[in-house]
């Protein structure tokens, strides 16, 4: 096109510009442009800034706030592509609701995709968590018709997102073809500056290709085994990028759901992007999965100090690279400076900028949410809240931890029952070699006032809903089973009993019962009719567990037990003797809270007799000359009495420390 003609066109209507820009070779050599790649990653279905378990706003997360960053970046970079890295559809109660509780209808679109459609996302990759709900669900909600076993080929194509989704390294066993389109080439119309310094319109062909961690095959084995297979990230890139170039891609953007790792390359490696950056033809990388910020000059993450990684400028072996943290907390922004060489657009890497912008302002406040998103997903949001509040069962007694330190098991036993039931069933089905071993469970009071007088588990008699289960089981642990000898079991209980100070029976001054240096979540106890023991707080740590018996007989120190606990404890949390991963026989993927919910759902009605009365431990009897005291909430003594704790009295309704606690006395002689 002649300069004269171009000058003539420039002031004309955009519609005419668009028509002309599609003409081949319309962009002269020396033209320049900036194209911003905007990255969201690991959104995990955090559409809104909301915590569904706490049922309250959580302004530090949520795509509704990332939206503000997107709007700003678009104003700054009129040429832009908004691309999502994956791990998009799973991770909140909203996601579970739409996948499991009230599975999405075929003509419906997932709430997160609705929000992304509103934001006019230009393309997306697929992460590992996309596979969590199975292939049929993924096929449906992405508007695909996967040709794989477990997906009904006769079902119609359902609603999906309005942007192309790509994934290059996951293949159907049945067809040998990639599950998704491996790549897509976006004809992106941009405004450029001609060699003569005047504005003009051009088109840049941007190829997007995505990769999921090949380790999905083990993480979602139950859905994927025999149905799909993966190929290595590097090999896949080497195969498809030349094909993308041959089809006209001027730029190749790798959307790779993984982090950086310079361990020797393998086709099954989880975080292969260090090697991906070395594949010829990769112009930019949008990475994720490891929930980090990149670039970040202040980061101490070892992978960001690898040779060839510039954590300040956002380069990996010279390739502009961004990772935008998780949950919509950040937006990745790569400002690609482009120069046209007469044939195609090429990147001027020296001028390219890389940033990860946060939704938190310098004054610690957060950017405003885009109200259109809350409006768009209001129905799904309300339904999820209703789901979280739906009763799964009921209890005829109040389950609390106000007196857990002195023997109230009302909030402990149900957890132990759920854990025992799970482990026993697992052993029966999968570990016949342990079928004859007794199965026990340990659990602790997670909330015992350390964060204030309201920081106790307290589920009132009546309905038990999902959010109550979060109160009974605070932490996001997974069920683990360990095999221990009687001696190791005793050592475990001894370590737990460090929750108490050593009480001197001859001291007349008041003595504090609780050793606050040993937190309540490390006070593991058994609640089983089969087990009994005493804790003698007059003895020093390590010598306090007395009369430990199983089914009425003293526990043989060589006898073996299976004990249900959680991953934190089984892996060494709290430095309990023998608990460091070496005794683990079951590392379940199932969350303790979820199996508690399942237990309550199955039991329907919890009763004090059945679920809150099996006290395995008591304090060893001792006569003290002075009072033994402890602090808990005021006005709750009746709860201790209802739980059968008859050796506690209220000393002062206000313990005088100014934090609202009351002072109670424990009579060890009873």
């Amino acid at each position: 096109m002649s300069t004269a003609l171009r000058l003539l066109i420039l002031p004309l209507a955009p519609v005419l510009l668009t028509a002309c820009s599609t003409l081949p070779a319309s962009t002269p050599a020396g033209s320049t442009a900036t194209l911003a790649l905007l990255e969201t990653t690991d959104l995990h279905a955090n559409v809104l800034s909301y915590d569904y378990y706490k049922l309250q706003d959580e302004p530090s997360i949520g795509l509704e706030r990332t939206a503000a960053l997107i709007a700003r970046a678009r104003a700054e970079f009129p040429n832009n592509l908004l691309l999502d890295n994956g791990d998009t559809i799973q991770g909140t109660a909203l996601a579970d609701y739409q996948a499991l509780v009230k599975p999405l209808a075929c003509d419906q679109t997932l709430a997160i995709y609705k929000a992304m459609n509103l934001l006019k996302v230009d393309g997306g990759g697929i992460g590992n968590h996309e596979f969590n709900y199975g292939l049929a669900f993924l096929s449906q909600v992405t508007g695909n018709q996967f040709d794989v076993d477990s997906v009904d080929a006769t079902k119609p194509r359902c609603a999906g997102p309005q942007f192309p989704q790509v994934l290059a390294n996951v293949y159907s066993v049945k067809s040998g073809k990639p599950l998704f389109a491996p790549y897509h080439i976006i004809d992106k119309q941009i405004t450029a500056v001609g060699a003569d310094g005047k504005l003009m319109t051009s088109t840049v062909k941007v190829g997007i290709i995505s990769f999921a961690p090949p380790t999905i095959m083990s993480w979602d084995k139950r859905w994927l085994e025999g149905r799909v297979y993966t190929q290595g990230v590097r090999e896949t890139a080497e195969k498809f990028i030349p094909e993308m170039r041959a089809k006209g891609a001027e730029l190749v953007v790798a959307i790779s759901h993984g982090g950086l790792d310079n361990s020797p390359y393998s086709p099954t490696m989880e975080n292969a992007n260090y090697y991906l950056s070395q594949v010829p033809g990769v112009d930019a990388m949008l990475i994720g999965h490891s929930h980090q910020l990149f670039p970040n000059a202040a980061s101490t993450v070892p992978q960001f100090n690898l040779p060839g990684v510039d954590k300040a400028r956002g380069l990996v072996n010279g390739v502009p690279t961004v990772m935008a943290n998780l949950w919509g907390k950040h937006l990745g922004v790569i400002g690609l400076r482009l120069r046209h060489d007469g044939k195609q657009w090429v990147i001027d890497k020296a001028q390219t900028t890389v940033e990860a912008r946060g939704i938190q302002n310098a004054d610690k406040s957060y950017v405003q949410a885009d109200p259109a998103i809350a409006k768009l997903v209001a129905t799904e949001h309300a339904a999820t809240i209703a789901y979280v509040q739906t009763p799964v069962g009921s209890t005829d007694f109040r389950m609390s931890t106000y007196f857990a330190d002195v023997g109230d098991i009302s909030a402990i036993e149900v957890v132990n029952q759920a854990q025992t039931g799970y482990l026993a069933a697992y052993v029966k089905a999968n570990l016949p070699q342990y079928a004859n071993l007794p199965v026990l469970s340990m659990s602790s009071p997670f909330k015992s006032g350390s964060a204030g007088v309201s920081d106790f588990t307290d589920v009132k008699a009546g309905n038990v809903a999902l959010n109550n289960a979060a109160d009974l089981y605070l932490y996001p642990n997974a069920l683990y089973g360990v095999k221990m000898t009687g001696a190791e079991l005793k050592a475990w209980l001894e370590h737990s009993a460090q929750r108490f100070n050593t009480i001197d029976p001859n001291q007349t001054a008041p003595q504090e019962l609780i050793n606050t240096a040993h937190p309540s979540y490390n006070f593991d106890t058994i609640t089983s009719k089969d087990v009994s023991y005493e804790i003698d707080v007059t003895q020093p740590p390590g010598q306090r567990i007395k009369r430990l018996a199983y089914q009425g007989k003293a526990v043989d120190m060589q006898q073996q037990f299976l004990i249900a606990t959680n991953n934190y404890r089984a892996s060494g949390g709290g430095n309990f003797p023998g608990l460091d991963g070496s005794k683990t026989v079951l590392a379940s993927p199932d969350n303790n809270r979820d199996l508690l919910i399942a237990y309550v759902t199955q039991e329907k009605q919890l009763t004090r007799a059945k679920n809150g009365a099996a006290r395995s431990w008591r304090f060893a009897s001792a006569t003290t000359k002075g009072p033994v005291v402890f602090h808990t909430a005021p006005n709750v003594l009746a709860l201790a009495q209802a739980a059968g704790i008859d050796n506690v009295t209220l000393l002062k309704a206000d313990d005088g420390a100014g934090k609202g606690f009351a002072l109670y006395q424990l009579d060890l002689s009873k």
Partner: protein, 157 residues
């Protein structure tokens, strides 16, 4: 090229030794002493997992008397070799004696997204322990990160 091939072969040999030692470690007391010896050999050849398992055996008195000092030494060596579970164990072993070092290892394990470390940091932020300033918001986020990390935890070393 030949050197690279030899290096890979040696690496395979170490991996095999560690696998064999793990079987022995789990076969009970009969194989424990030999397991220790094999782990020591592989740890001497640069294996992080071998140093980690040797540390656990020493910590628990498997195949010999417990030796918590030597156990910590091996576990920390494994941690320096980027073994996340070793970082977590080191953090817990050191929590009551050397808070700064404990926190260093906890942070290192968090950076590798080790779920239990994220969990422990969440608790520390919640309670203001391990020299962390109490921060409920950060704590909630770390709990969620721990939960998420459980969804794609690393296979056993």
């Amino acid at each position: 090229m030949l050197a690279a091939a030899c290096g890979a072969q040696a690496q395979d040999g170490v991996t095999e030794t560690v696998a064999q030692a793990k079987v022995l470690m789990r076969s009970g007391e009969a194989g424990a002493a030999q397991a220790r010896s094999l782990f020591q050999q592989a740890a001497g050849q640069g294996s992080g997992p071998a140093a980690y398992y040797l540390g656990l055996m020493l910590k628990n008195g498997m195949g010999g008397e417990p030796d918590s000092v030597a156990a910590l030494r091996w576990v920390e060596l494994a941690a320096r070799r980027q073994v996340a579970p070793a970082m977590f164990i080191a953090a817990n072993m050191l929590a009551s004696s050397d808070a700064a070092k404990a926190r260093h290892w906890l942070e290192a394990a968090c950076a590798l997204e080790y779920p239990e470390a994220l969990m422990q940091k969440a608790i520390a932020l919640q309670e203001g322990t391990m020299a962390y300033t109490k921060d409920q918001k950060q704590s909630v986020l770390y709990f969620r990160m721990a939960e998420h990390a459980m969804g794609h935890r690393q296979p056993e070393l």
